[in-house]
Symmetry: C2
Subunit: 272 residues, 2 copies
DNA sequence: GGGTATTTGTCCGTATGTATT
DNA sequence: AAATACATACGGACAAATACC
């Protein structure tokens, strides 16, 4: 084998994990035991474990040991909800600021979604936000930021941006740091006559920043990335009326896109 | 500071990178120079670089040095194409097996998409595939596998699965290892009267396996993950007629989802 | 092509710190 | 308090890849 020793050790451990010889949640032998077992140095064993860590197969806990990762039962978000967003959505986040509908069958199980009170700020629109909202760079926008949890687990960070002009008209509840019953989209329709007739989401995957890693309790070793979704809502004139930026850690989230006529969702298990 | 030294070094380098003091593509000082500069050991400097590597900020090249990563101009795929998929799609992959339409404005630039001839196999449906196609586990299915490139860069791996029964009827071109003009969806409509009236995509992000890492030329350090999309197509009776599994490396791909009425796409730059 | 210098990759041994039990 | 296990940091040696002459 031309491959270095730490890779061979990692490969051996990987086969044990994927064959089920070491079960999820189970502890691996300690670094010193592995060092003796493979006849390598402790540093080399650590290189092997580090390799498996980046592959997302194991995690290390100081003072405890190295464990095979437990896959989190993924939460599934449907990105193609009704754009007109009637208040009567079957099951939806209590204050989803306009973001994708929550999958029914997940909540039919006993998962409980909680949302923090929005943190409202008035900011100057920086480049990507101004471009998406089609307002002048540097002009003022309202940002409403929320933390969302499921069963107490941090699930997503969400920030919605609205042009400050909405507030100067009659939509002054946008700058209140409290939930808007029925959702802001409905509120803007009621107060300003802005109907959201559609939206476009752009998805990308990147490494989390420090804030995100802290909130989601993501191990700082970079094996878990985040999915960033920029959702721009358009009113009946085709003008952007809303930009929602959502961050989802990829270790606990999946997404659905429905196009055309599809049968009812049934996301049993498809761990791939 | 309670933070370890290698993190402090990494933080110092990170600020230099994100402030633009070290430009994308530019080479960092060598490990030995950094060791002298920070008064640390070479291994500690290497830990700092390794940390930046997992953050996706730098990449190391043996024999050459450490470089600030160049972001790849992302290719944007629209996941919500017309489900009826008429042959007259404005711009579409020459043999897109039914996968999402290709964004126009990208090809309007001079990016050129090429697709390998399909690699056709007859397999027994394993669990997740059988479940999605709603066929008995262990029954035979046709798989058509393709490699897709843009401007010569590996862009996605795509495998479509069809029930073997389609071939036993008149759709025998499914098992030919050559392109089907107009796409297989259109072909199935012509031969079997199966109209695809909709599809559902499930997206998830995971670490690449060895095959994927090799094909996409992903650095083996695990900082680049892949997006896996399972797209199930349904015919006019609501029965699954197709399962397409697509793999996209996340360092060069973004995705669009359009819902309702949205204006024309204009994915200028939004590097986030 | 060959040889050499440079640079990162691998591997070792050791010591000490920190978190957990 | 003590033991255990992983985290950090050092220094050294050699290998492998690349660039340059």
């Amino acid at each position: 084998m031309g491959s270095p020793m730490y890779r061979q050790i990692a490969e051996d451990l990987r086969e044990q994990i994927e064959s089920g010889a070491i079960r999820p949640g189970q502890q691996l032998r300690t670094e010193l035991e592995l060092r003796d077992h493979y006849g390598a140095s402790r540093n080399t064993v650590r290189d092997a474990i580090k390799w498996l860590t980046t592959l997302g197969l194991v995690e290390t806990k100081p003072g405890q040991g190295t464990f095979v990762v437990q896959k989190i039962d993924p939460f599934v978000t449907t990105l193609t909800a009704d754009p007109k967003r009637p208040g009567g959505n079957k099951v939806v986040a209590p204050s989803a600021d306009g973001y994708g509908e929550i999958d029914r069958s997940q909540l039919a199980g006993q998962r409980k979604l909680t949302v923090s009170d929005p943190q409202v700020e008035i900011q100057k629109a920086v480049d990507p936000i101004a471009a998406q909202l089609q307002v002048a760079a540097g002009s003022q926008v309202v940002s409403r930021h929320q933390k969302r949890y499921i069963d107490g687990t941090p699930w997503s960070l969400q920030t919605s941006f609205y042009p400050m002009g909405f507030v100067l008209k009659s939509a002054d509840r946008l700058i209140e740091a409290s939930d808007i019953a029925g959702g802001t989209v409905q509120y803007l329709a009621d107060t300003l006559g802005l109907r959201q007739v559609g939206y476009r989401s752009r998805m990308l995957v990147r490494a989390p920043d420090a804030t995100e890693a802290y909130f989601f309790n993501i191990p700082q070793d970079g094996r878990v990335q985040v999915c960033e979704i920029l959702e721009t809502g358009f009113d009946q004139t085709g003008t952007p009326m809303r930009l929602t930026v959502s961050i989802f850690p990829t270790d606990r989230n999946q997404f659905l896109v429905n196009v055309g006529d599809v049968p009812e969702d049934e996301p049993e298990e498809s761990k791939t």
